[in-house]
Structure formats: C-alpha cells, structure tokens
Amino acid sequence: MAEIQIPAVLEGKELVRSVRTPARMEFLYTAGVATTRFLTGISEGKILGERAPGGKVYVPSRGADPQLGVPTTEPVELPHVGTLVSFCVVNVAFYGQGMEIPYTSGLILLDGSDLPLMHLIQECPVDDVRIGMRVEAVWVEAHELAPNLESIRYFRPNGEPDVVVTQPGAGVTW
C-alpha cells in the first residue's frame, strides 16, 4: 500500500491502530417448569432428577424423555457422588472465564442417573484427572444456597476406587 500522507497537525501524534467494538446481548432466560423443579431442589441442597416411563433418569430433567417424547413424571433424589465419564483440561484463558488455568471441566454421571452433569473438577491436579474417577459434590455453605449450579462449587475425588467406563461420556459399568 502506498504511503499515507498525514496533515502536519497530527505529526508526532500516536496513531490509532485498533478500536474496541464489543457486542452485548441481553436476554431474560426462563427455566421452564421442569428445570425450575431441579433448581429449586439445588437451592435446598438436593440434586433432583426425573425418571421417564422407559426407566431412564435425567438430571437436570427438561420435563420429557428425549428418546420417547413422554413426560418425566417420577422425581428421583440423586446421591451427591458419581463417576467422571469425560473431561476437558482447559489451558487457554478467555474473556469472562473467572478461573485460574489450567483447570478441569468434567461430565459427572451421578449414581442412579443416565445423563451426566457438567461441572468443575477440583482438589485434583489436572494430570491426575481420569475417566472412571469417583467424585463427590462440594457445596457452598447452607446460607449461600441459590437456585443455580454455582451452589455446587465443584466435584472432587472421593477416594473410592475407579470404575470401568466402557463408553466415555455416556454410561458406566461396575
């Protein structure tokens, strides 16, 4: 590109090279009745799933079995322990992250559930995180409980022996 000629009035001034052009979208997210049941449970320190007529337990339930298309009718209170069925070690910092890197994000299949939850895995060096690891939820203090998943601070190894995960990310066998 040819040399730009700048008027004398701007000589010696530091030239602008970039501009900030942030984009922002504001939504009102409505949870729906089924997820409201789940979140209300979380605010009481409980993890509530729902069983579909086919037998599968979903957590959080969206109110219907995605395979059968029928309502999930039976509430199931799940234990706070499960198995790590998949995970990702995050090594890259990004805007709005709020976490010190590296950290681990994992899919946790709670015992008795058929759908894994995504949450943080902490109190475990990232190099030691493995599929099949048994983990337990660490909650915030009782007075800090709120209807969101930040009420569970993270999951950590609970010391039980690993289990065999035949299909990472989907299910476990004992």
């Binding site: 009035v9 701007l10 030239l15 501009v19 052009t21 504001e26 409505t30």
Partner: protein, 148 residues
C-alpha cells in the same frame, strides 16, 4: 419474570469483547478525532471524502492524501428522532443528519443536538461538539450543534 410465578427466570447477558484493527486511513481519521481534527481524503477526481476511504470508489486505486476539513459544516439533509431508543447517542430528541464539513465534498451521517425540529433546516451551519474524554473512537465526536 415469567408469566408463571412459579417458574424461575434470570437475566442472561452475552458479551463479546471484540476489537478490530483500523488500517492506516481510518486509524488516522480516529487519531484526528482524538485531537479534535476532522480528516478527509482526496479522491482521484479531486473530491474530498469524509470519513476517508482507503480506495477510490471510481477507479479502485489507493488513496493516500489525507486533508483537514471542518471544523464547521453544513446540514445536507436530516430526520428528527422524537423518541430516542436505548442505544441512540442522545437520550433526548435529536436529528440524524448528513453533515458536510467545510472543505469536504460529501456528507456523512451524524447527530445534531438542536433541541427541537424547528431549529433544524437543510443548509444550516453546524459545529462539532467534542467529547471530554477522547480515546480515538468515532464517539470522540459526540455530536454537532447549530452554529448560530
């Protein structure tokens, strides 16, 4: 809140912190705004274009000769905004106007803070109102006001 008082809802805000590079021509234009100087660029036919473009719109050749224009200008055409929206640059009624700075041959879309539509007229003289804290952005030129 949702229509159903039993259903939870919460604000969800998605933000992307984009920044983009300006290139040498727009970068010089924004530098000018920061220094309270308006810049145009000379086209192949000698016309002065504001804001400056990197290429000539007729021949496609590179344009390089930035020139100072303004600070005063003339309203070529305008539209009155009775009810400003949240993202509009002013919170009270204003005019969108094509303003042609003195020395330029084209107008560009700007805000004129005139108070009322009766104070607006095609051909009226306007002067820039600069922002107090300028950082090299299009917002450094806050708006224009009638030059009476």
């Amino acid at each position: 809140m949702s229509d159903d008082p039993g259903v939870l809802s919460a604000p969800l805000i998605i933000e992307y912190p984009f920044s983009r590079t300006t290139g040498p021509v727009i970068g010089a234009f924004l530098t000018g705004l920061r220094e309270k100087v308006l810049l145009g660029i000379k086209g192949s036919d000698g016309r002065v274009i504001v804001p400056p473009t990197e290429y000539d719109s007729f021949t496609g050749e590179d344009l390089t000769e930035l020139v100072e224009v303004g600070p005063g200008g003339e309203v070529l055409t305008w539209a009155w905004v009775r009810g400003p929206m949240a993202k509009h640059p002013l919170s009270h009624p204003f005019a969108w106007a094509l303003v042609k700075p003195d020395g330029a041959d084209v107008g560009f879309l700007q805000v004129v803070d005139a108070g009322s539509p009766e104070a607006m007229a095609t051909g009226m003289r306007v002067r820039p109102r600069w922002g107090d804290e300028r950082e090299g952005s299009i917002h450094d030129l806050a708006c224009w006001e009638p030059d009476v």
